[in-house]
Symmetry: C2
Subunit: 211 residues, 2 copies
């Protein structure tokens, strides 16, 4: 049993604790976050309880082409080394080019309600948005390391439908996350996101990862 001490160790130290070092960490009640001896990432919440990291991606609409499904399945599989991964798809609304602004807002609101119905109160929510905060991969990794250090074990990432996310979804977001100024198809956004999450965990674990 590992007890949360509230003390924050350097990333380098916190993420290289395993094997013999893990025994040391346990002996000295260090807040640790490791994933070498366990199938999942471990986090210690503020009550001192050990929790498995959970990564949830809530997105709108299905993946049609096989290459999207296979690519995302591959990164999802790799990510299970660090966390329990869940991808939740909610149905999309039809959004032809001819919609009025009011109709577009209605589509976003309907999809937004479906998204919000899949999110619990204890989840830390990133909402992807072009106008969100842009980070380097290292900054994003640091953000995730900080969240886990502070006891967040449920990280949820939202990708809106083709028109984007509703104000209600953005309001629920704890962080608006941008992957650049350009517009991507939502399937590609899913792939970019899951690859970046995987990359963040690889960076935080000090593992080499080919660019």
């Amino acid at each position: 049993m590992v007890k949360f001490t509230g003390k924050i160790f350097s990333k380098k130290f916190a993420t290289t604790i395993y094997g013999a070092e893990q025994k040391f960490a346990t002996k000295y009640s260090i807040c640790l976050y490791t994933h070498v001896d366990k199938p999942c990432g471990i986090n210690v919440n503020s009550g001192g309880k050990i929790e498995i990291m959970k990564i949830k991606i809530v997105c709108v609409g299905k993946l049609k082409e096989r290459y999207w499904r296979e690519a995302i399945a591959e990164y999802s599989k790799r990510l299970t080394r660090f966390a329990k991964v869940e991808i939740v798809q909610v149905p999309d609304e039809k959004a032809p080019e001819t919609l009025s602004p009011a109709q577009m807002n209605q589509v976003k609101a309907t999809e937004g309600e479906r998204i919000l119905s899949k999110i619990k109160d204890n989840e830390y929510v990133f909402v992807t948005a072009i106008k969100g905060k842009e980070r380097t991969s290292e900054e994003f990794a640091q953000k995730i390391a900080d969240l886990t250090t502070y006891g967040h074990s449920n990280l949820t990432f939202v990708i809106g439908g083709s028109l984007g996310t509703s104000p209600a979804v953005n309001q629920r977001g704890d962080d608006l996350l941008s992957f650049g100024k350009f517009t991507m198809p939502h399937q590609l956004m899913r792939l970019v996101l899951i690859e970046q999450i995987y990359r963040a965990f690889m960076i935080n674990s000090g593992s080499p990862y080919h660019k």
Copy 2:
């Protein structure tokens, strides 16, 4: 035969010329850039000669997984509606994590020479680089529209290897192009790039394209 007038028309006008409007454009010697009645994009160079648009992507290393190959083949195929598409792969150098800075520069220089050997003088070269200019999809589309208006028919896009591009390659670049602050695997960069090129042509043609 369409003669280059040197006059620049609004994007809206220039990209909706087809059918009956194309006859009007031809009659009045308008520099046009269309792809509805032709399999390829048409450009008129500064000498008044009509040229087929050529898009070349020069990249380092092979695509290992099937999903990368299939996804990139799909966008490559879609893009042939607008241009002749060529993807040129040059061999990568081994780049383990243990390389010294001097060795890393050597890897980039060697890969850079291979890249440059595939580029001719008449090509307008975009080099992808995290620290390049970030654009929205609309701004990128406008950039391409401007280049074609000014008679550039050979657009080349370079994606470096895992360590990035050499100074010599960056020097040859007419434009340093960034798709956000985050680091991507080079396979994913290829997919993001080709999707954005396709999107740019779709925007310039006024075609609806699902996000």
